[in-house]
């Protein structure tokens, strides 16, 4: 069968599945729409959380991020998983006990303050909207590169599918589609990885293969990789090159940002009991780890594979003739994600690090006039079935997996946005007397508008789209996580302390990012160049969320100690969320 038809069939079948689930899991009340009536099994919720969390970036980009940098980008692996320990120990069980529907609602009630609630709404919306843009463009990338469907049509199809199940089913519909999407994405990710690992190391389990012997050379795989990359002037794969302070703060920012992201937190409102919220965080991390343990193996093996196919005679001999280039180059040069430019006009593909001063002499001696091959990070995962020579249906599955990863995360973000608009802005502030039916309708309208906005931004991504992930994690880390944690662990923190703390964390983080990236990311409006010698203590903009969080904590403690204690009933509220007993069912209010 033609690959194009096969791709369409597989992706079409997954879409039909999502729509079928949506019709089966319609939401009839606000409790179902916001929190699936707190009736989701902890393992089911763990799986849905894994799909909710693993975005287009995890599925498509992460293996490439590790492959082309090596050890230093282990920060992504630890940062994006370590946050679940914080979530399980510090937030999820208590917020589940609190038993309401949104993150700003907890902040507003605990700090008995509408301004605190609205600051939390602002942080939630900015973090979630910036994040959702990346998901919509990710859907477009998967469609255009794998299905040969123009990117904008792909985005519109994806948005229509999300519209259907998210507006109809709310949290309930989203939960069950996320479970289906998890199965699709993990199958798509692991099958090619197993074959690649088997071919390169003889071990079918990729995380074990990573630390095994490379069959072709008889050397350990990582030692072999270090040898070939340094032969071409690249930095050693397994060694540390970045500043340790920056790596530590970056990892910490990702961890507390992960724990503070509202679309992840609200998933833990859907389980029946407080104990389930604890177990569920463990299951979520198990399902996430299936991908996160495979990704570094895919990264290292594919990097070695790429170099081996460019230098079939070894790195000491001339690289391959362009006319005899490997198949993966032929396929991907069409998309522009692989580029070859014959600088020295010898008809061969020189692939090396032309930024290395140490390697410059050798390059000159070999008659090389610059690196001729650029490989985009993102093709690593999408091309791995082809590099492994796998059958057509596996390639089709990779497309369905990439789309599933993007859609499941988009739906979770859209629910967080629409829930906060109907529950916190409309019911909590503008129209407190709205009826249950009115609130449900508002939630659906807010969801529909959020999808239209996300689609528009996906079709016309602002120039800064790639930069905004740092902003989303930075905001969640610097504003929401500290407020939630202090709300549970420090009964003496009052309204003024929490509100000022959130504002200080938020403004500091935004100001630091804008200083180097430009005001609202507009090029040319930055005050300082975005390079390490200008960063304060060498702290990169992506790592600053952890510093913002510390300022938030410090400000809240100082202001609270200078102003009056929280009222009696708030201290009692804190006492009550600390014990599991009496968690009860969904509270309609």
């Amino acid at each position: 069968m033609d690959q194009f038809i096969l791709n369409l069939l597989v992706v079409g079948a997954t879409f039909a599945l999502y729509i079928g689930i949506a019709i089966w899991a319609r939401a009839g009340s606000t409790a179902e729409f916001y929190a699936a009536s707190q009736g989701i099994h902890p393992v089911t919720n763990g799986m849905a959380t894994a799909a909710d969390w693993m975005s287009a970036a995890s599925f498509i980009s992460m293996a490439g991020l590790i492959a082309f940098v090596g050890y230093d980008n282990s920060t992504y692996l630890m940062g994006w998983t370590g946050g679940y320990v914080l979530l399980a120990l510090l937030l999820a069980p208590y917020l589940r006990k609190f038993g309401r529907f949104t993150v700003p609602e907890f902040i507003g009630d605990r700090f008995y303050s509408l301004p605190a609630r609205l600051v939390a709404v602002l942080a939630l919306i900015v973090a979630s909207v910036t994040y959702v843009i990346g998901q919509m463009t990710g859907v477009g990338v998967a469609f255009s590169n794998l299905l040969e469907v123009p990117s904008h049509i792909g985005i519109l199809i994806g948005a229509a599918v999300v519209f259907f199940y998210a507006v109809l089913g709310g949290m309930k519909g989203i939960t069950y589609t996320q479970v289906a999407q998890y199965v699709v994405l993990i199958t798509a990710y692991t099958i090619p990885a197993v074959f690649v690992s088997l071919a390169m190391t003889g071990n079918p389990i990729p995380p074990l293969g990573l630390f095994s012997e490379h069959t072709a050379s008889g050397q350990p795989l990582l030692e072999r990789l270090d040898d070939v990359v340094t032969d071409l002037g690249f930095r050693e794969y397994t060694m540390n090159h970045d500043s340790m302070l920056n790596m530590t703060l970056f990892t910490l920012s990702l961890m507390i940002g992960t724990a503070g992201l509202p679309h992840v937190i609200i998933r833990f409102f859907t389980v029946p009991k407080v104990a389930d919220a604890r177990w569920s965080a463990g299951w979520a991390l198990v399902f996430i780890a299936l991908l996160y343990l495979v990704a570094p193996a895919v990264g290292a093996m594919t990097r070695l594979n790429i170099i081996d196919t460019i230098y079939p005679e070894g790195t000491d001999n001339p690289p391959v003739q362009f006319e005899e280039r490997p198949d993966w180059m032929r396929t991907w040069e069409v998309t522009g994600l692989v580029n070859w430019d014959d600088l020295n006009e010898d008809g061969r593909v020189q692939f090396y690090n032309d930024d290395s001063d140490d390697f410059a002499a050798e390059a000159e001696e070999r008659g090389w006039e610059g690196n001729e091959l650029t490989v985009n990070n993102d093709i690593l995962v999408l091309a791995s079935p082809q590099i492994g020579g796998l059958p057509g249906w596996v390639i089709a599955l990779a497309a369905a997996g990439g789309i599933a990863a993007a859609l499941s995360t988009a739906a979770g973000l859209l629910l967080a946005i629409s829930g906060t608009i109907s529950n916190d802005v409309v019911k909590g502030w503008l129209a407190p007397n709205i009826s249950e039916r009115g609130e449900l309708l508002t939630a659906r309208i807010a969801m529909a508008l959020a999808i239209v906005l996300a689609t528009y931004l996906g079709l016309n991504p602002p120039g800064f789209a790639a930069e905004t992930v740092a902003l989303a994690f930075g905001l969640a880390a610097a504003s929401l996580f500290p407020a939630l944690m202090m709300g549970i662990f420090s009964p003496k923190i009052n309204d003024k302390g929490a509100t000022t703390g959130m504002l200080v964390g938020l403004l500091f983080t935004v100001a630091y990012i804008f200083t180097y990236k430009g005001i609202f990311f507009i090029p040319g409006t930055n005050f300082l160049p975005d390079t390490s010698e200008y960063w304060v203590f060498g702290i990169a903009t992506v790592s600053v969320g952890a510093v913002g969080a510390m300022l938030n904590f410090a400000t809240a403690f100082i202001i609270s100690s200078m102003t009056e204690e929280p009222p009696e009933e708030i201290q009692e509220l804190v006492e009550s969320i600390r014990v599991p007993r009496g968690s009860g069912g969904a509270q309609d209010h």
């Binding site: 692996l77 630890m78 120990l89 790596m247 009964p491 009696e568 014990v579 599991p580 007993r581």
Partner: protein, 86 residues
Amino acid sequence: MSENPSASAYWKANIRIIRICLVIWALVSFGFGLILRPLLSGIPVGGTDLGFWFAQQGSIIVFIALIFFYAWYMNRIDREHGVDEV
């Protein structure tokens, strides 16, 4: 504030176990995976060293173990202090 002696003992037990878990959490990631990696460089693991393994695999496996241990341990503490859900 209602000073229930059992509730405060329960909370103390909870804080104690959270502290222990977070020390291990930090040790395997920021410690073995990043800052203390040079100390582990003598221990070879598959072509590299133990610190690299912790950074790319070990920390994640320990994170999972920590969450399941905490969930199991807290269920026991919940029952012992009579605050479990019925």
